[in-house]
């Protein structure tokens, strides 16, 4: 049980960290760009919300394997396949939770508008400087919401992990898989305990996010 809890938290933490790093600049570009390509990229980012995890899991299973597009790179790392590994799960989780990180941050950047950045430019701030010292602090509510949602979404992930994980204790066996196995093997009591904690956790996460949003709205109406 403990290895699964630690592994689940580890996966969610690593995924969220990676998502902050790639999600923030991507959200910035999506919020500022007036090009039609931004709409196309926005759509691609939103796909995991509507796609069944099995579709995503299936493509990942093929893509991560020895016949996938990255197959020629794998031997350099001494690997045959990225499936059945923690790194494979991280790749899957980053793609699966991308919209949950990008969309709140993009919305936060949009709300800022042009004015603060124009002021920054007039004060001779470089675009990079304006991004870090004006845009990011103003959008921190969005970054926070995105991080919490991505973290929680990764903890609740099941379909993708089931399809590419291979259920290896300590490496790919996360909590949602434990629940699935408990139900499959008729250990309903154990399934009930884990599920109940998951419900409590999800409730707490969503409640905290909503309370923070309410407070930020009062501070910046």
């Amino acid at each position: 049980m403990w290895p699964a809890i630690v592994l689940t938290l580890e996966l969610a933490t690593v995924t969220t960290a990676i998502l902050i790093l790639i999600g923030t600049p991507l959200a910035w570009w999506l919020a500022r760009s007036k090009s039609w390509t931004a709409d196309v990229i926005s759509t691609v980012v939103a796909l995991p919300i509507v796609l069944p995890p099995t579709a995503l899991g299936f493509y990942l299973l093929v893509a991560l394997g020895p016949h996938g597009p990255f197959a020629s790179l794998l031997p350099f790392f001494g690997l045959r396949s990225l499936a059945f590994s923690f790194n494979g799960l991280v790749i899957g989780s980053v793609i699966y939770s991308l919209p949950f990180m990008v969309q709140p941050i993009r919305n936060a950047f949009r709300v800022i508008g042009d004015a603060p950045l124009e002021v920054a430019a007039m004060l001779r701030a470089s675009p990079l400087d304006a991004f870090f010292s004006v845009a990011v602090p103003l959008a921190q509510g969005g970054i926070f919401t995105g991080s919490i949602l991505s973290f929680a979404h990764t903890i609740g992930e099941f379909g993708v992990v089931l399809m590419i994980g291979g259920d290896i204790p300590g490496k790919t066996e996360v909590l949602s898989i434990i629940i699935f196995n408990d139900v499959e093997t008729m250990q309903w009591r154990a399934a009930n305990i884990v599920s109940a904690y998951m419900v409590l956790f999800a409730f707490a996460v969503i409640l905290v996010t909503m309370m923070i949003e309410r407070r930020t709205r009062r501070l910046f109406p």
């Binding site: 299973l61 991560l64 396949s81 059945f84 291979g166 699935f180 499959e184 008729m186």
Partner: protein, 270 residues
């Protein structure tokens, strides 16, 4: 744009849409009534089938339909999932399990018609690889250990998974191969892991790769694992359905047994 869609006002459009919906619904209801009242379209028998039996079940259902006229609706999944669903009131009438334990438990729990359990197939385990050169006809690859991942079903929920572990233990290789095992939730997934090349080889049911000319396989001798007895049972929901009873009777017929054998299963009679 919404306000004058095709020249109609918005409210007019809504009114026409609702009118059309009511007409379509009436047609559909009349259609359903006509279809269900004719004997050729008698209600389908709902059958829950363990995933390993997918291919033969399709063939048997087709043969059963052309012989009796009863339609069959097949659902595929793992026996463990099906048991959980049946316990929660799923509408299945017949349960073709991958093991003997769950039909027995269904009977003990009062979910099945007493005395209706019988063995419809005895499964065979095979070590399979999508690579045509990898698995030799004697399974020596297991001893050589020249692979990184070997797929096997979850031994706690899938009988074929138990058989895989028993085989490794009987060969005295379990401890050295255990770190290389990737566990699949069911046989279909074990097949996916191997067919996609993510696992070089793995244990699946012979029925899954029987008619597959690609890859390489070793049919594991049945002395290495305890027999995979697959039992069928008539569930309480199907107790009064002549179609469900006819399906179970058909499953014991020569026609069905011939199909079952053609997929590499044996039956209690041989």
């Amino acid at each position: 744009m919404m306000a004058n869609f095709m020249g109609y006002s918005f409210t007019e459009t809504i009114r026409r849409c609702i009118g059309l919906c009511i007409k379509l619904l009436t047609f559909a209801l009349v259609g359903i009534f006509i279809l269900t009242s004719s004997p050729a379209w008698a209600r389908n028998v709902l059958v829950a089938v363990a995933a390993n039996f997918m291919a033969p079940a399709h063939k048997i259902a087709a043969a059963f339909h052309s012989k009796t006229g009863y339609g069959v609706e097949l659902s595929f999944g793992s026996s463990g999932q099906f048991y959980a669903q049946i316990k929660q009131g799923a509408p299945f009438e017949v349960f073709l399990s991958a093991d003997a334990a769950r039909p027995q438990k269904a009977e003990a729990d009062g979910l099945a018609v007493p005395g209706s359990v019988f063995t419809y197939a005895i499964g065979k385990l095979v070590l399979w690889s999508a690579n045509a050169q990898l698995v030799d006809p004697h399974g020596a690859i297991l001893r050589s250990g020249t692979f990184t991942h070997i797929a096997n079903c979850n031994p706690d929920s899938a009988p074929y998974g138990t058989a895989g572990i028993q085989t490794l233990k009987a060969l005295g290789l379990y401890n050295q191969i255990d770190p290389k095992i990737v566990t699949a939730a069911n046989l279909s997934q074990a097949y996916q892991f191997i067919a996609s090349g993510n696992a070089e080889l793995g244990f699946v049911a012979l029925s899954q790769v029987m008619n597959n000319s690609k890859g390489s396989k070793w049919i594991v001798p049945q002395t290495l694992y305890s027999p995979i007895i697959q039992d069928a049972v008539l569930l309480k929901t199907g107790a009064k359905d002549p179609g469900a009873r006819a399906f179970l009777a058909f499953l014991k017929s020569k026609t069905a047994i011939k199909i079952i054998h053609s997929y590499g299963y044996s039956t209690p009679g041989g």
